[in-house]
Symmetry: C2
Subunit: 377 residues, 2 copies
């Protein structure tokens, strides 16, 4: 597949030119954070909600993406009258550090005008969160009302509560875990190897060759996508149905194959392979307990946030037992925590889908916290 590079789009952003020191020790000469906001910041600057996006998400939470033209990825959750009600809250979402939607990442230009590409330094979930903190401060907000996110977004929520224990009133980690499991790492590694195997990857310098490793990235996306769904969801959506009807001898394609290929081929039109490598690596290395002497409770010592931990019953990528382990650690840290497992057959992706139980849970938790925080409607 010979595809040109991703379209360059203008993204709203803020640029910090004073240098940004990463966990790896490298200093980025400048930090750009691309972001979107929805709603109005109240006079007390107390109603700000930070939404953290997942691996392949972006800042276009509640409006069409300028790259794909598709509607925002969380319009069912964020908007007027939605659980994260933009009539009530000021919602912020930033493209993560290392991403490819306008924030500093492998696609960004270095001071000498060349692209970072594979020279882009490794980043951590904490680096992503520290970049978001810069944005939040830039917006004049000292303390967020809430930080919310699913999957890798949930990892960021946990890191926020750990790194900035005073800077958020409420924390909602959804379909997340305190670390990436061996199986999760394994699936990411398959995707990375698929990208490396693509000759169009050119050792990461595909920009210089005017191409992208589209086939490898598509395979990576396909492998990952299976993990986002449950077996039940796949069986319900596709079963063993063939694309073109009639069981001929292998002439036809199963619907699930066609679906996966579509997932792969559309993904490469919107996502950068080096960003994919950078961000999957950040997720793999996320391990809050390891960062705190192998004591997860210590990661949350002193946090003042109220937690609502959410898991989905059929999520096998970030299973409920990981959320329970998180809740136990938060309890040991004497944090204020509630936990809800949403019964669903939709798998990990349930946090992005129509799940009324989840939406009611989120709306209720935020409303209760808003009352306690004295946020005026």
């Amino acid at each position: 597949m010979d595809l040109p590079d991703l379209p360059e789009a203008e993204h709203q952003n803020v640029r910090f030119a004073d240098g940004f020191v990463l966990d790896c020790g490298t200093t980025l000469p400048e930090l750009t954070v691309a972001y979107r906001t929805y709603g109005t910041l109240d006079a007390a600057r107390a109603n700000a909600v930070l939404v953290c996006h997942a691996l392949t998400g972006d800042q276009y939470v509640a409006e069409p993406s300028p790259v794909t033209g598709k509607e925002g990825w969380w319009t069912q959750v964020v908007g007027p009258g939605r659980p994260v009600d933009t009539d009530r809250y000021f919602v912020i979402c930033a493209n993560v550090l290392g991403g490819c939607m306008g924030s500093t990442g492998p696609r960004s230009l270095r001071p000498d005008g060349s692209r970072w590409g594979t020279d882009f330094p490794p980043v951590t979930i904490r680096d992503m969160v520290r970049a978001q903190k810069r944005l939040v401060e830039h917006l004049g907000i000292e303390r967020l009302f809430a930080v919310i996110g699913g999957s890798m977004g949930g990892m960021q929520v946990l890191e926020w509560a750990s790194t900035y224990p005073d800077a958020l009133f409420a924390a909602v980690p959804i379909a997340a875990a305190s670390h990436h499991s061996a199986q999760n790492i394994a699936f990411h590694e398959v995707g990375r190897q698929a990208i490396f195997a693509d000759p169009e990857y050119h050792g990461g310098r595909y920009h210089e060759h005017g191409t992208i490793p589209a086939r490898g990235l598509a395979v990576a996306r396909m492998a990952a996508h299976i993990t986002y769904l449950s077996e039940e969801a796949l069986a319900r959506k596709f079963g063993r149905r063939l694309q073109n009807g009639g069981l001929s001898i292998f002439g036809d394609m199963f619907q699930v194959e066609s679906y996966l290929r579509h997932q792969g081929s559309t993904f490469v039109r919107r996502f950068d392979a080096n960003s994919y490598l950078t961000i999957t690596r950040a997720m793999d290395y996320f391990d809050l307990a390891a960062d705190h002497g192998d004591d997860l409770a210590a990661a949350f010592a002193g946090t003042k946030a109220r937690f609502c931990v959410v898991s989905f019953s059929s999520d096998w990528l970030f299973p409920t037992r990981e959320s329970r382990a998180l809740v136990r650690a938060l309890n040991r840290a004497a944090a204020n925590v509630s936990f809800v497992e949403i019964p669903t057959d939709k798998g990990h992706d349930a946090f992005l889908l129509d799940e009324p139980d989840f939406h009611r849970t989120l709306a209720g938790f935020l409303a209760g916290c808003a009352e306690r925080a004295g946020i005026v409607r």
Copy 2:
């Protein structure tokens, strides 16, 4: 990765030159079945056990493979004093039709001396079983004492019982199912796309280019390998341990990554990519109920075999519920069936590993059947 083609090895075989009509309608001008036997056929020709291998298995059940030099893949199960006791039974194992260890498959030569390659016709699990039947008849055996196999081997066991209801006394489908699920198909499709994406695949004509699609095949193997293990097994074996100690900032590799890469790179030295495509397709299309008017019980109408259905508690590729569905269908068909779920954390691969409970179950079932069948020790 620029690797030469697989080493050619001489495999014991039988050649049927009278043509072999496949389910797809194509006639193979000749059928070669490569096989190995262990033990001695008794005078009544009543003690033969056919072992069916899985996707990437071969006929070298209980002796070193001439290609890899590694010990047989089921030495814990097949051998003197083992559950499938070669002092008692005459054990046969054939490389499947479509395979790459000597049986007719994509690597085989056509009458004109060229390799089949991608022109090799699609084969079904039933075609594989019909090829085995030719071998069994060639060996002078009218009725097998038992047919045993795990994973795709289990699919063959079911097909044997369905297609030849009088030709086996006992059937042991292990970690199997009556059809491939949407999730299973999806994982296979990821592997196929990884192979197709490798430029060394050359549209399947890699033999002509003196190369093999090693990177693509390795990625396919890595993705598949994750599905053979349980999350618990991965966590126990590797957890989040790093290969070279000390948590540097992403300089180190997780052990699980190193392990997967090793799995991928050794696999391509012993397996043919076109065989992988052919056999995964055969598995995907396996659906015994669909072949019998969507009634799984009808598939087993008239079978005289005694069944022992075995599943493993942590197998998420062929989960226990699939075995239970099989047992229910066998019950509806008034078949003689017992069912055992082996508690283990080793996942799908448990059937290949040290699982004393499984081995005792198998030994006991066979011994009981041998007594009923009047097989003299």
